[in-house]
Point group: C2
């Protein structure tokens, strides 16, 4: 384990250097860099046929509120250009055939790994969420129902569980819309606690792109928009994946 | 579930109002408010005798790096005033006999609830961490070994898993040192990815207290301090719990 850490330490220097860079970070121009359009990325991310389990589908734990808003948004996928994103066990499943740039690879056992926000697999106990993405509007809506295993203050979701899901929703939006790969910064202001098992709605927008950095905003509120739970801004680094 | 959400919505208005307040938020002065010293809180938080499982003890998944740094810090608890904090299944266990202020209570089943950062209970797969706290220096050190269920980019910890642990370490430090109860804001800058199964060390300091807000900083780095993984500032609201 320690050895693996040291092996990647030097490579991580590239990432650190880019994050520090006051000017435009260089685009990868090696033969292995994989330049893709938003459509390419969406096709790869949302395969029409797959045996992979999609964790972003309704189950018995979803509240009536969550279910009805899901159905509303699902209707919009038929007419308004919204896409319901599938959610597989690992990010590896979403970028099959591609890998991180700069030799940023760590040999881990796929079988044992799991994306953090899907790691509690008992229905209703951990994260229940689904992301809808709109390619041309460059925005996402995430429906979030925190289960009792996401607790912080007794009876309420841990602020960190919301922070993680904001990062995750930013991440998927940034990647699909603009090749955003790495979180540079998150700036979160918490306004109200989210009761366990209630519905919170995350609205994510891409605000601008400058120097290969994607600037995004997120507002988290109740379905009726009467309670704001949190606001967040996030910056992501725009980089190309490489062919595996 | 929806009903419960609406029941607390009005009460949450108090929290929102305090977070918005540009001036000093009022201290609770009701008979139920529980003013305590840092020593009181530490005694309650770290009971000498308890049947509760402490999740912050070494297990077979801990790397040699994590184990040896744990032993080093444990030695300092004997001579240098450091305290190794226990970590129970729920925050309810740490504040027995007390409850959140402003009627912020939601009836949830204790049996089914779990603090977010202890929700993956298979050793080594999720969060492995332990917090050491120094009351007079008002600082904490958290040893963090992310397991493969905390994955974001393939082979690396999800930024959100680190964000959640920074919030958690801030939270425990703010509560024990200065009656900090709620996260107001987190401002995180990510510098490098943390490889899964490696050791990251969080150093948390209380910087200042103004208008009942506790300002804290956190640096996350490798044990040899050669790699900075992230830096974070956090603000917590200083409030008293109430007697149950």
């Amino acid at each position: 384990m320690m050895k693996r850490g040291f092996q990647v330490a030097a490579r991580l220097g590239h990432y650190r250097a880019l994050l520090r860079a006051p000017c435009i970070p260089p685009r990868l121009d090696s033969a292995s860099a994989f330049a893709s359009s938003s459509d390419d990325r969406i096709s790869r991310f949302c395969p029409e046929k797959t045996d992979l389990k999609d964790y972003a589908l309704p189950n018995a734990s979803w509240s009536p509120d969550m279910l009805s808003m899901y159905q509303e948004l699902l209707e919009k996928t038929k007419t308004d250009g919204w896409i319901k994103l599938p959610s597989f066990k690992s990010n590896r499943d979403h970028i099959q055939g591609l890998k991180l740039p700069w030799g940023l690879s760590v040999k881990t056992d796929y079988k044992d790994s799991c994306i953090f926000t899907r790691s509690i697999q008992m229905e209703g106990q951990g994260y229940e969420y689904v992301i809808f993405f709109h390619p041309s509007m460059k925005k996402s809506i995430c429906l979030f129902q925190p289960g009792p295993y996401l607790e912080g203050p007794p009876g309420f979701a841990h602020g960190g569980s919301l922070a993680a899901l904001m990062d995750e929703t930013f991440s998927k939006t940034a990647y699909l819309a603009e090749e955003g790969l790495f979180t540079v910064s998150l700036n979160i202001r918490f306004k109200n606690l989210i009761p366990v098992n209630s519905l919170a709605v995350l609205n994510v927008d891409i605000e601008k792109i400058e120097d290969q950095k994607i600037y995004m905003s997120c507002t988290v509120q109740s379905r009726d928009q009467q309670t704001v739970y949190a606001k967040c801004s996030g910056v992501f680094l725009q980089m190309q994946l490489e062919k595996e």
